[in-house]
Amino acid sequence: MAPLDQKTLVDAPSLDPVLQPVDVARGLPNAYYTDDALFDLEKRKVFFNGWAGLGFAHDAPEPGDARPVDFLGAPLLMLRDKQGVLRVFENVCRHRGMILVEEARKIEGAVRCPYHSWCYSTAGKLVSTPHVGGPGQNLHPDIKRDELGLNEVRSHIWMGVVFVNVSGDAAPFEEANADLLARWAEFDQPLHHSGADSSFKLDVKTNWKLAVENYSESYHLPWVHPGLNSYSRLEDHYNICEYGKFSGQGTLVYNPQLSDDGRAFPNFDGLSEKWDTGGEYVTAFPNVMIGVQRDHVFAILLEPKSVDHTVEHVEILYAHSDAMADDMADLRAANAKMWKEVFVEDVFVVEGMQKGRAAPNFDGGKFSPAMDEPTHVFHDWVARRLTT
């Protein structure tokens, strides 16, 4: 019998047209946006087998903070230990697989399983096993605590985002994303998050990939974002295409006017001249869409809830702690409002494309080789991940 993955793919529409050069390629077929079995396959091959965004480092900012996260059905736990190290674990007791932490809270001492009270340190170590050897006896020769700590999930923090590799066997994050890290090495500086005024989410009736696809290209800007186009025209943009790695778009004219009195956010230290008016918008495949500009970055973490439902978690992070000052609150609010307006303008497009995937004769779509190549790079990446 063929392995499940192989059978799912054999039954699915062919990915061969997706893997052609952009001038003749087609987009991913409808089923990759509508079929539950393919969504499940994608979950494992695209999300679990590589590095994917789970949450944000500021979701668990203080020692002892614990935040459970449902990651495509996998119960995970972000946990910051007493020394301040943030780790990700499977949110289950090693004894009977009980969920350990139901909602975000502070762990004062140990994580106690609510079932039989096995206790774990905030670093994931099994520290007590009550009555495990019989009443009043916490020891048993077959219960080796040093082998029964919480199952840790590999994690890496970059741009304020907590990335995880659930399968545990992907190349190290710095290796898997080496070219993107090098491209944006100048932004590898401390980031500052101001809290709720720099945070919002959008609940969208679409497959997660359509959000990436829309983010990847500038072709739609003059039509969907006419306000943005008044100062950031189509011809001021360029494609970013790194096959097998990442894709997106850049602008040459980043210069927002957030206040009438000339106030502005401080910039990152030591940026090269390119970033005086440059901005880049790239997806760290599969699900973290990041924008970098001289004074702030943002990350949109896509949480696929189902094959046709996605939550976009948007967080804005600033270059300098001075941007956190009270007298900058109006600017932060204006900046968040600006980005939210842009991202909300995209909602009807990604939801409309999702509805469009029900058209029986739609063939994945014909790309403009000039304007759509970043989307093709993404499709090529997804198709290769699904078939390897």
Partner: protein
């Protein structure tokens, strides 16, 4: 801690109240008191049973007495 004493009925009520309030530090103290009473009465098994509970709640609450309770369990060969 060992100087404090409480009768069984009051202890039971206090434990239920502390469980309801999810007051881990209080639970640790109450279970330790129960252990003290059993140990004083010569019932080591019952004392260790209560000490186990005292220890778990002290660990969870990061209560300062957790180290002392652990020492007692270790002394009786019940904890590592």
């Amino acid at each position: 801690m060992r100087a404090e004493s409480i009768d069984d009925e009051k202890l039971g009520a206090a434990l239920i109240a502390a469980h309801d309030a999810r007051d881990g530090a209080r639970l640790a103290r109450l279970y330790a008191m129960a252990a003290d009473a059993k140990e004083a009465g010569g019932d080591l098994e019952a004392a260790c049973f209560y000490l186990v509970h005292a220890y778990v709640h002290a660990l969870e609450a990061n209560a300062p007495e957790s180290a002392e309770i652990r020492k007692r369990l270790v002394a009786h060969g019940r904890e590592a």
